[in-house]
Symmetry: C2
């Protein structure tokens, strides 16, 4: 077994604290990554505090991982020691169901194996990226362009692919009018991608204090969602809306902005099931859908695209010792737009 | 002006009763149809009783109209006196918006002009098919195959196209597993079409008393929706579900049956906005959508398809004098599967 150190939640109420544990020795298909940076996703907070009810302790959160490969198994082809590598939300899946075969492993019929707070196929608890190293099968490890700031790449592994994938799936590109709801960790990436794909992008926000930032990040227009007249100007006009907001909000106000055959996809996943006015769907044949992360091939495609187009997240770097404070600030949306842990701080 | 007679609701509470009124003289593009049969749609009852709040009186309901052309305007090309003709849910639209130009007039940006309970572009109230004749612009009149029973064709103009269109839009054909929720006027047509298109069809019902009928109409399987184990057998397996049920029901139980990228379309339009568990959409990238009737080209395509494949509705014929009794029975779902008024009874 390999020795690892990190920060863990021991239960739902105490702060994250230093934790020593072991990881499996790498098998022939495994890659060992020395973690340099790990993004802080809102779901880390939900899981650590058992807000989704399915938490397993001790929990080492973190699924936006970038680091250096230190060892590879004998059958590994894509990586060698010294390469930059990324690990996202999942570290395994059944590999045999139609979704896995299609490279859409995130929709695995058996359920993906999460990077943390999950049990792997041997029944062992998985531990995430708030730690010094990780051992992952090659299929679930991505190559990273050395041209990008690796710290700012880390959030691409969750916030990036979660927005890139639906924007691609629903063809949000040139000639399309695309809305982005919410300007947080997910939203700011959705905005960057939609702009980069050539869409006309309308950023919806609950606070105009974000207007300048939205314009800087690529919005063509910024709309205050509480301004009914401003909303009405976009009625029946949008091809696609990406909804990154997790706080409860009225979906019907946005569905009304879609043109015929337009689609809205939820990636923020509000916990309270929203109500849907069925006429808002039927009278323009609009669709309401949702999406989670992306498959392994598409995640690599996204990372390659970011390398070519110089796209990374806007981040605030913290040492691991500040993680509990970062959680408190994240719960108040006080971050532009993603905390990233400098894992070198673990040594201090 | 042309003299017309029919049955009308004078307000929300009194029974429908005989009513004399006038229709416009036909213009150069108009077709005059002597109505032979008119289907009785559940929305007729809702509108006559002001259950949707937007009723205009006096109201002559009826938007599933089949009859004989008696006169045509000088510019009319598709029809001549003596032809069979059909009129459905709409009699006009703006003709210039993108939806109208695309032949999807039902999604007209200005709103379609309903066959009854609407105002035409001159502000005149429209009167529907519970009457002896109707004057309609050629674009909104359909040709009918003389091979079919014209009485049983009438419901195709609403129940038929309302189910045909989404089944075509979401490609419910060979190699696809398709669910139909509800076995009433809409559902029985959806079942016939899905079967005819070559899909493997699962009929969902709240009462197994309909099982034999569902099998006769083309179902490959019949599932009692309250049987959780029977429902679970279809989890993650369906490509498309057509939901024709108007009574409140749990959409999430059906969303869970869709495979990755599967879609469910609502055409029954429950009045109480249903709640949607967002994870049920996101974790398989499923879509919830809806659809109303179909455009003029597709309605003609549907009627032609029915002529080629000998598809009509299962009907119970009534004289117009029994319309109030029929409403009472329809409200209890006591009809297999559509009442059709024999308009010759008006002369008695």
């Amino acid at each position: 077994m390999m020795k690892s150190v990190g920060y863990a939640a021991q239960n739902a109420t105490t702060p994250l604290a230093p934790f020593s544990f072991e990881r499996r020795d790498p098998g022939p298909n495994d890659v060992v990554v020395e973690i340099q940076y790990c993004g802080v996703c809102h779901s880390d907070l939900h899981q650590a505090r058992k807000e989704w009810g399915n938490s397993l302790y001790p929990m080492v959160p973190g699924h936006e991982i970038v680091g250096k490969v230190t060892r590879v198994g004998g059958a590994v082809k894509k990586f060698k020691a010294g390469d930059l590598a990324g690990v996202g939300v999942m570290v395994d899946s059944c590999r045999t169901c139609p979704s896995c075969k299609a490279g859409e492993e995130q929709y695995c019929d058996q359920g993906m194996v999460g990077t943390y707070n999950a049990r792997d196929h041997k029944g062992e608890l998985t531990f995430g990226g708030y730690s010094n190293n990780i051992v992952v099968g090659e299929r679930y490890v991505h190559t990273i362009s050395p041209k990008l700031n690796p710290a700012a790449v880390a959030p691409l592994l969750c916030a990036g692919i979660t927005t890139y994938s639906p924007l691609r799936h629903w063809k949000a590109g040139k000639g399309k009018k695309v809305g982005i709801i919410g300007l947080g960790g997910l939203g700011h990436m959705g905005l960057k991608f939609a702009h980069s794909f050539g869409a006309h992008v309308v950023q919806f926000t609950t606070s105009l204090s974000k207007k300048e930032d939205a314009l800087r990040l690529g919005a063509d227009e910024v709309v205050l969602s509480s301004d009914a007249a401003a909303m009405q100007k976009h009625a029946n006009s949008m091809d696609f809306i990406l909804d990154t907001a997790a706080a409860p909000h009225d979906l019907n106000a946005y569905l009304a902005l879609l043109k015929r055959d337009g689609a809205m996809a939820l990636v923020g996943l509000p916990e309270v099931p929203p109500t849907v006015i069925t006429g808002a769907l039927a009278f323009r044949r609009r669709s309401l859908s949702g999406s989670i992360i992306g498959g392994m091939p598409e995640t690599q495609e996204m990372l390659d695209y970011c390398g070519e187009h110089n796209i990374v997240a806007d981040i605030e770097m913290i040492p691991i010792q500040k993680i509990n404070e970062a959680y408190t600030r994240m719960a108040k949306n006080d971050v532009k737009y993603r905390f990233v842990i400098d894992m070198a701080s673990l040594q201090k």
